[in-house]
Protein backbone atom coordinates (compact mmCIF):
# COMPACT_ATOMS: atom_id res chain seq x y z
CA UNK A 1 0.00 0.00 0.00
CA UNK A 2 1.15 3.57 -0.67
CA UNK A 3 0.85 6.53 1.69
CA UNK A 4 -1.21 8.22 -1.04
CA UNK A 5 -3.74 5.37 -0.73
CA UNK A 6 -4.65 6.19 2.86
CA UNK A 7 -3.06 9.39 4.14
CA UNK A 8 -5.39 12.35 3.77
CA UNK A 9 -3.02 15.06 2.51
CA UNK A 10 -5.55 17.64 3.70
CA UNK A 11 -5.10 16.29 7.22
CA UNK A 12 -1.39 16.91 7.70
CA UNK A 13 -0.49 19.22 10.57
CA UNK A 14 3.15 20.36 10.54
CA UNK A 15 2.95 21.80 14.05
CA UNK A 16 0.23 20.49 16.32
CA UNK A 17 -1.41 23.04 18.58
CA UNK A 18 -2.30 20.54 21.29
CA UNK A 19 0.28 19.75 23.93
CA UNK A 20 -1.27 16.60 25.40
CA UNK A 21 -2.18 13.18 24.05
CA UNK A 22 -5.97 13.45 24.03
CA UNK A 23 -5.79 16.95 22.55
CA UNK A 24 -3.56 15.73 19.73
CA UNK A 25 -5.89 12.81 18.95
CA UNK A 26 -8.89 15.16 18.87
CA UNK A 27 -7.03 17.70 16.72
CA UNK A 28 -6.11 15.02 14.17
CA UNK A 29 -9.63 13.54 14.17
CA UNK A 30 -11.01 17.02 13.50
CA UNK A 31 -8.53 17.44 10.64
CA UNK A 32 -9.76 14.19 9.08
CA UNK A 33 -13.34 15.34 9.61
CA UNK A 34 -12.64 18.68 7.92
CA UNK A 35 -11.09 16.80 5.01
CA UNK A 36 -14.41 14.96 4.69
CA UNK A 37 -13.03 11.53 5.56
CA UNK A 38 -15.17 10.55 8.54
CA UNK A 39 -18.71 11.04 7.30
CA UNK A 40 -21.09 13.39 9.07
CA UNK A 41 -21.01 13.91 12.84
CA UNK A 42 -18.57 11.08 13.68
CA UNK A 43 -15.40 12.98 14.61
CA UNK A 44 -16.11 13.21 18.37
CA UNK A 45 -17.20 9.59 18.65
CA UNK A 46 -14.14 8.42 16.77
CA UNK A 47 -11.75 10.56 18.83
CA UNK A 48 -13.27 9.14 22.02
CA UNK A 49 -12.94 5.58 20.71
CA UNK A 50 -9.28 6.18 19.83
CA UNK A 51 -8.61 7.60 23.31
CA UNK A 52 -10.31 4.59 24.89
CA UNK A 53 -8.11 2.26 22.82
CA UNK A 54 -5.04 4.29 23.76
CA UNK A 55 -5.90 3.96 27.45
CA UNK A 56 -5.85 0.16 27.10
CA UNK A 57 -2.31 0.13 25.69
CA UNK A 58 -0.15 2.93 24.41
CA UNK A 59 0.55 3.05 20.68
CA UNK A 60 3.70 5.05 21.40
CA UNK A 61 6.06 2.51 19.85
CA UNK A 62 9.32 4.26 20.64
CA UNK A 63 11.62 6.40 18.49
CA UNK A 64 9.25 9.36 18.93
CA UNK A 65 6.35 7.77 17.05
CA UNK A 66 2.78 7.02 18.06
CA UNK A 67 0.09 5.48 15.88
CA UNK A 68 -3.21 5.88 17.74
CA UNK A 69 -5.88 3.94 15.90
CA UNK A 70 -9.31 2.38 16.01
CA UNK A 71 -11.59 0.36 13.78
CA UNK A 72 -14.82 2.18 13.02
CA UNK A 73 -17.76 1.61 10.71
CA UNK A 74 -17.75 5.29 9.67
CA UNK A 75 -14.95 4.57 7.19
CA UNK A 76 -15.01 2.23 4.21
CA UNK A 77 -11.24 2.12 3.85
CA UNK A 78 -8.27 3.12 6.04
CA UNK A 79 -7.71 6.85 6.43
CA UNK A 80 -4.87 8.58 8.26
CA UNK A 81 -3.90 12.02 9.51
CA UNK A 82 -0.28 13.05 10.16
CA UNK A 83 0.76 15.42 12.93
CA UNK A 84 4.11 16.66 14.19
CA UNK A 85 5.05 18.31 17.45
CA UNK A 86 8.38 20.11 17.81
CA UNK A 87 8.23 20.04 21.59
CA UNK A 88 7.00 16.46 21.84
CA UNK A 89 3.91 15.01 23.47
CA UNK A 90 3.68 12.52 26.33
CA UNK A 91 2.04 9.38 24.92
CA UNK A 92 3.14 7.06 27.73
CA UNK A 93 5.34 5.50 25.04
CA UNK A 94 7.05 2.13 25.49
CA UNK A 95 10.45 3.81 25.76
CA UNK A 96 8.97 6.55 28.01
CA UNK A 97 10.24 9.22 25.61
CA UNK A 98 8.13 12.05 24.13
CA UNK A 99 6.42 11.55 20.79
CA UNK A 100 7.15 13.90 17.89
CA UNK A 101 5.20 12.23 15.09
CA UNK A 102 1.59 11.11 15.54
CA UNK A 103 -0.28 9.20 12.86
CA UNK A 104 -3.99 8.79 13.52
CA UNK A 105 -5.26 5.74 11.67
CA UNK A 106 -8.96 4.93 11.31
CA UNK A 107 -9.67 1.52 9.79
CA UNK A 108 -12.87 -0.10 8.56
CA UNK A 109 -14.55 -2.50 10.98
CA UNK A 110 -14.73 -5.36 8.49
CA UNK A 111 -11.39 -5.36 6.70
CA UNK A 112 -8.51 -6.16 9.07
CA UNK A 113 -6.09 -6.80 6.19
CA UNK A 114 -6.18 -3.18 5.02
CA UNK A 115 -5.36 -2.04 8.56
CA UNK A 116 -2.33 -4.34 8.67
CA UNK A 117 -1.14 -3.17 5.26
CA UNK A 118 -1.33 0.49 6.32
CA UNK A 119 0.63 -0.28 9.50
CA UNK A 120 3.24 -2.10 7.43
CA UNK A 121 3.72 0.95 5.23
CA UNK A 122 3.95 3.30 8.20
CA UNK A 123 6.57 1.29 10.08
CA UNK A 124 8.55 0.31 7.00
CA UNK A 125 9.51 3.97 6.65
CA UNK A 126 9.26 5.29 10.18
CA UNK A 127 11.67 2.76 11.57
CA UNK A 128 14.34 4.24 9.29
CA UNK A 129 16.30 6.98 10.99
CA UNK A 130 16.77 8.81 7.69
CA UNK A 131 13.03 9.02 7.12
CA UNK A 132 12.36 10.24 10.66
CA UNK A 133 15.01 12.90 10.25
CA UNK A 134 13.49 14.16 6.98
CA UNK A 135 10.08 14.15 8.61
CA UNK A 136 11.23 16.25 11.54
CA UNK A 137 13.00 18.68 9.25
CA UNK A 138 9.74 19.32 7.41
CA UNK A 139 8.35 22.72 8.33
CA UNK A 140 5.09 22.69 6.40
CA UNK A 141 2.29 20.29 5.55
CA UNK A 142 3.33 20.57 1.88
CA UNK A 143 6.84 19.38 2.72
CA UNK A 144 5.47 16.40 4.64
CA UNK A 145 3.16 15.57 1.71
CA UNK A 146 6.17 15.69 -0.66
CA UNK A 147 8.15 13.39 1.63
CA UNK A 148 5.32 10.85 1.81
CA UNK A 149 4.93 10.92 -1.99
CA UNK A 150 8.69 10.50 -2.36
CA UNK A 151 8.51 7.45 -0.06
CA UNK A 152 5.82 5.98 -2.32
CA UNK A 153 8.22 5.88 -5.28
CA UNK A 154 11.39 5.21 -3.28
CA UNK A 155 10.92 2.20 -0.97
CA UNK A 156 14.39 2.58 0.54
CA UNK A 157 13.56 6.02 1.96
Amino acid sequence: MKFADFVSFDAIIAELESKDRDGVITELANALDKAGKLGKGNADKIARAVIKRENEASTGMGKGIAVPHVKHKAVKDVVAAFGQSGKGVDFAALDKQPVYTVILLISPADNPDRHLQAMEKIFRHLQQEKFRKFLRQSQTAAQIEDLLKEADVNPSL
Binding site: K63, D110, H115, L116, F123, Q127
Partner: protein, 109 residues
Protein backbone atom coordinates in the same frame (compact mmCIF):
# COMPACT_ATOMS: atom_id res chain seq x y z
CA UNK B 1 1.90 -30.59 18.29
CA UNK B 2 5.21 -31.39 16.63
CA UNK B 3 8.59 -30.22 17.84
CA UNK B 4 10.35 -27.51 15.89
CA UNK B 5 12.95 -28.50 13.39
CA UNK B 6 16.40 -28.40 14.89
CA UNK B 7 18.53 -26.90 12.17
CA UNK B 8 21.76 -26.98 14.17
CA UNK B 9 22.99 -26.57 17.69
CA UNK B 10 20.94 -23.89 19.39
CA UNK B 11 18.88 -23.09 16.30
CA UNK B 12 15.20 -23.94 16.03
CA UNK B 13 12.98 -23.12 13.09
CA UNK B 14 9.21 -23.56 12.92
CA UNK B 15 6.38 -22.46 10.68
CA UNK B 16 3.13 -21.15 12.13
CA UNK B 17 -0.11 -19.95 10.59
CA UNK B 18 -1.90 -16.84 11.80
CA UNK B 19 -5.42 -17.93 12.77
CA UNK B 20 -7.10 -14.97 14.43
CA UNK B 21 -9.28 -12.89 12.12
CA UNK B 22 -7.61 -9.56 12.80
CA UNK B 23 -4.10 -10.89 12.13
CA UNK B 24 -0.91 -9.67 13.71
CA UNK B 25 -2.02 -6.15 14.60
CA UNK B 26 -0.42 -4.11 17.33
CA UNK B 27 -1.66 -5.93 20.42
CA UNK B 28 -0.82 -9.44 19.15
CA UNK B 29 2.55 -8.13 17.98
CA UNK B 30 3.17 -6.82 21.49
CA UNK B 31 2.25 -10.19 23.02
CA UNK B 32 4.68 -11.85 20.64
CA UNK B 33 7.49 -9.44 21.46
CA UNK B 34 6.80 -9.76 25.20
CA UNK B 35 7.20 -13.54 25.08
CA UNK B 36 10.26 -13.33 22.81
CA UNK B 37 11.93 -10.97 25.25
CA UNK B 38 11.56 -13.49 28.08
CA UNK B 39 14.17 -15.65 26.33
CA UNK B 40 17.87 -15.22 25.74
CA UNK B 41 17.78 -16.51 22.17
CA UNK B 42 17.50 -14.16 19.24
CA UNK B 43 14.50 -14.65 16.99
CA UNK B 44 13.60 -13.63 13.46
CA UNK B 45 10.21 -13.89 11.78
CA UNK B 46 9.80 -14.14 8.03
CA UNK B 47 6.56 -13.83 6.04
CA UNK B 48 8.06 -14.86 2.70
CA UNK B 49 9.03 -11.31 1.82
CA UNK B 50 10.19 -9.51 4.92
CA UNK B 51 12.29 -10.66 7.86
CA UNK B 52 11.62 -8.97 11.18
CA UNK B 53 13.38 -9.06 14.53
CA UNK B 54 10.90 -10.91 16.73
CA UNK B 55 11.89 -8.76 19.69
CA UNK B 56 11.10 -5.45 17.95
CA UNK B 57 7.51 -4.26 17.97
CA UNK B 58 8.13 -1.90 15.06
CA UNK B 59 9.66 -4.59 12.88
CA UNK B 60 6.92 -7.06 13.77
CA UNK B 61 4.35 -4.48 12.63
CA UNK B 62 6.07 -4.52 9.24
CA UNK B 63 5.07 -8.12 8.56
CA UNK B 64 1.43 -7.22 7.82
CA UNK B 65 0.65 -10.79 8.84
CA UNK B 66 -2.98 -11.28 7.87
CA UNK B 67 -5.17 -14.18 8.92
CA UNK B 68 -4.03 -17.35 7.10
CA UNK B 69 -0.51 -16.11 6.52
CA UNK B 70 2.36 -18.49 7.27
CA UNK B 71 5.29 -17.20 9.27
CA UNK B 72 8.71 -18.80 9.66
CA UNK B 73 10.04 -18.30 13.16
CA UNK B 74 13.76 -18.89 13.57
CA UNK B 75 15.28 -18.77 17.03
CA UNK B 76 18.96 -18.98 17.80
CA UNK B 77 20.44 -19.40 21.25
CA UNK B 78 20.51 -21.59 24.35
CA UNK B 79 16.71 -21.60 24.85
CA UNK B 80 15.69 -21.54 21.19
CA UNK B 81 13.47 -24.61 21.38
CA UNK B 82 11.52 -23.50 24.46
CA UNK B 83 11.04 -20.08 22.91
CA UNK B 84 9.68 -21.30 19.58
CA UNK B 85 7.32 -23.66 21.39
CA UNK B 86 5.86 -20.77 23.44
CA UNK B 87 5.55 -18.62 20.34
CA UNK B 88 3.78 -21.40 18.46
CA UNK B 89 1.36 -21.76 21.34
CA UNK B 90 0.64 -18.02 21.30
CA UNK B 91 0.02 -17.83 17.55
CA UNK B 92 -1.71 -21.16 16.82
CA UNK B 93 -3.26 -22.35 20.09
CA UNK B 94 -4.10 -19.19 22.04
CA UNK B 95 -4.49 -17.27 18.77
CA UNK B 96 -3.51 -14.15 20.72
CA UNK B 97 -6.72 -14.53 22.71
CA UNK B 98 -8.74 -13.41 19.68
CA UNK B 99 -11.50 -15.01 17.60
CA UNK B 100 -10.97 -16.81 14.29
CA UNK B 101 -12.96 -15.62 11.24
CA UNK B 102 -15.60 -18.32 11.97
CA UNK B 103 -15.88 -17.30 15.62
CA UNK B 104 -16.08 -13.60 14.89
CA UNK B 105 -18.56 -13.99 11.99
CA UNK B 106 -17.10 -10.96 10.29
CA UNK B 107 -16.92 -8.93 13.48
CA UNK B 108 -13.34 -7.92 14.25
CA UNK B 109 -12.29 -6.82 17.74
Amino acid sequence: MQAGEKVGKGICEIEVTVRNAAGLHMRPAMQFVDIANQYQSSVSVNNGQTTADGKSIMQMSMLAATCGMKLKIKAQGPDAEAMTEKLRELVEVKKFGEPTPEESKGQVP
